[in-house]
């Protein structure tokens, strides 16, 4: 009994000493700022910055290989905190928000087939989906599943909705969408042309109530000349010129253009 206690006690002391020596000898120098930076990052590991997780970005910033505002989801707060840690000037954060460029839910868009198979947008896209429109939302919610911040949900009609306040602009949804109908835009822009169909007007009219029919009324009515025709069949806003006046949204005959500020004004008055 006593022998065992002594033997184990000595062995414990020896190993303890070895560990202490090893810890001193093989110590990895770590920038203390890295941990501080990691603490102010959101910790979602979304990968939007292009580095392997938040710790990867924190290391890169500490080494000076990434700018202080590299974390889009962290936004202004993280950028300011990191700038303080790194002792650099506060750089403007470039946080944007996601917009889904389709309003073709099941009441607006014509359904031409029933889809039976892998239940994801990527799967349905392999066969062209169940809607007549070959450009619009497939409605299986790959984007919602991809959102690391819970900033999206599927509406009752089967279209993804972005919760603007929660969206960090990481772009995971845009990457997940096989139809490429999600884009990141500056958060202060309220007017969007919510259609991505390059089909000609008459065919769009046939299968979707809210598609762009290339009538060009918006192009002519825009006082900033911010709207142009893409490939001649789809109106597109140049956000750097748009001043949110919303005139185009009132002119659009199909309602393909939505002015979010007008929508929220209506909600308030109602």
């Amino acid at each position: 009994m006593l022998n065992a206690i002594i033997a184990l006690g000595i062995a414990g002391l020896v190993f303890g000493a070895m560990l202490a020596l090893a810890a001193e000898k093989f110590k990895v120098e770590q920038d203390p700022r890295m941990l501080e930076i990691l603490n102010v990052l959101p910790g979602a590991n979304c990968g939007a910055c292009g580095f392997p997780g938040c710790s990867g970005l924190a290391e890169a910033i500490a080494r000076g290989e990434a700018p202080a505002n590299a974390c889009v989801p962290g936004g202004k707060a993280a950028a300011e905190a990191i700038s303080k840690i790194m002792n650099v000037d506060v750089a403007e954060s470039m946080s944007e928000v996601a917009v889904v460029y389709c309003q073709g839910h099941e009441h607006n868009a014509e359904i031409s087939a029933q889809y039976h198979g892998v239940t994801s947008c990527k799967g349905a896209n392999m066969l062209g989906g169940h809607k007549s429109c070959a450009y619009g939302c497939l409605g299986f919610g790959d984007c919602v599943k991809a959102c690391p911040f819970g900033a999206m949900y599927m509406s009752e009609e089967g279209l993804p909705v972005v919760i603007k306040e929660k969206c960090t602009g990481c772009g995971a949804c845009a990457k997940a969408c096989p139809r490429g109908i999600i884009d990141l835009v500056p958060p202060d822009k309220d007017v969007h042309i919510l259609c991505r169909s390059f089909d000609k007007g008459p065919s769009v009219r046939k299968y979707c109530k809210v598609g762009c029919i290339a009538c060009q009324l918006c192009v002519r009515s825009c006082p900033q000349e911010a709207i142009s025709m893409d490939k001649g069949t789809l109106a597109k806003i140049d956000y750097s010129l748009c001043d949110n006046c919303g005139i185009c949204a009132t002119k659009c005959p199909t309602g393909a253009i939505r002015d979010e500020s007008a929508v929220s004004r209506e909600e308030v008055s109602a």
Binding site: S112, A113, Y115, H116, G117, V118, T119, K122, G123, N125, M126, L127, G128, G129, H130, S132, A134, Y135, F198
Partner: protein, 443 residues
Amino acid sequence: MITIKKVFGGVDVPGKKELSKDCPIEFAGIPGEVVLFLSQHTGAPSNPIVKPKDKVLRGQMIAEPQGTVSAALHAPTSGVIKAIEPRFHPVQARMADAIILQPDGEHVSDESVKPLASDLEDLTPEAIRTIARQMGLVGLGGAAFPTAVKLAPPENKPIDTYLLNGAECEPYLTADQRLMTEEAEKVIFGFRAFMKASGASRGIVCIEDNKPDSIEAMKRAIQPYSEIELAVLTSRYPRGGEKQLIQAVLGREVPPPPGLPLDVGVIVSNVGTAYAMAESILEGLPLIERIVTVTGEGVAKPSNFKALIGTPLSFLIDKAGGFNGTPRKVIMGGPMMGAALRDTNVPIVKGTSGILVFNVDQVVEEPILPCIRCGKCVDVCPMRIQPLWIAAYSERGLMEQAENARAMDCCECGACAFACPAKRPLVQWIKLAKAEITAMRRA
């Protein structure tokens, strides 16, 4: 007589060929609009050489090949080019550029459509390859690989055997069967041109034993040629897959991708391609029409049509007597490898071997159940991969694991999904993984 070797995996599927196997090939007619996709072959899309409002004649080249692996495109009938615009591509399932031709109904041939040679002695291997390229020939078995590229194997990989694939193991389809029965001599002429162009000294015609009429006709047609033999295969799906065919007939195993049949000294071509080659040489006719089986319990009069490339499906279904009952599913290709369509207002492409229409009675739409690891998919997989795992990885977005599980080896034959008791869409998941892995490799 060639002894047939054992092949791994496969499933026994009901043939269902009796619906259309006795229907002679008939010309489907000229539709109101012909839609010709610039990309209906493996490789780079062809480059249009006509403009809207141009008048074109039957057989005139309207798009030239772009790069080595590409194919030319020709006007299937005379008429006016209406537009070059994106249309829904039934195989790629996305909008793709197409030349829209408005036929004038005259069906006048271009002056280039004239016999090039009547005897193979007059043609060098190089000349045959040039004809294949000029005439826009692609493999008509389904993958639509440019024939001219196939006929030019690299010098360090000599070809000793050429297989002519008349197995037609897909249920329902009878296009190849009718072609072999009705045009055996032309098929063999085209086959001999392939053999000459590739330098193969031995040719084997492979037919499944459920086509006795084709076997008889081909037997007679190969009589004069001692270098061509006949192999009669037992019917089992997917016997007509290129790699399975080589294994069954020659006992050689093609290495997994990127391994090709030419790595074991073999080239395989479909009988339809051989017929198109013969038409190119004997009539000077480019690949502007092909044999399409329109069948299934959902069509009134199952038929085998000689249809112009670009003919809308709806036109062909009407020609086959229209729908018989309420259609539930329309498939382009065979029931095992074909893809369901969302719309019949799409044209056939060079690789379309059949159009199937099924009514509610034939379509099983059971819910997709969880995998119980029964292993049936592994037992039947001819490529010896494990579909259940690849599908599971793909479902969860784990594409690197899917690649390690050899997703790229999959030949998409559909035997696993057919055997799965849980009705899991295994092939669709694997196809998805293949597409993602290809994109990852390119990045």
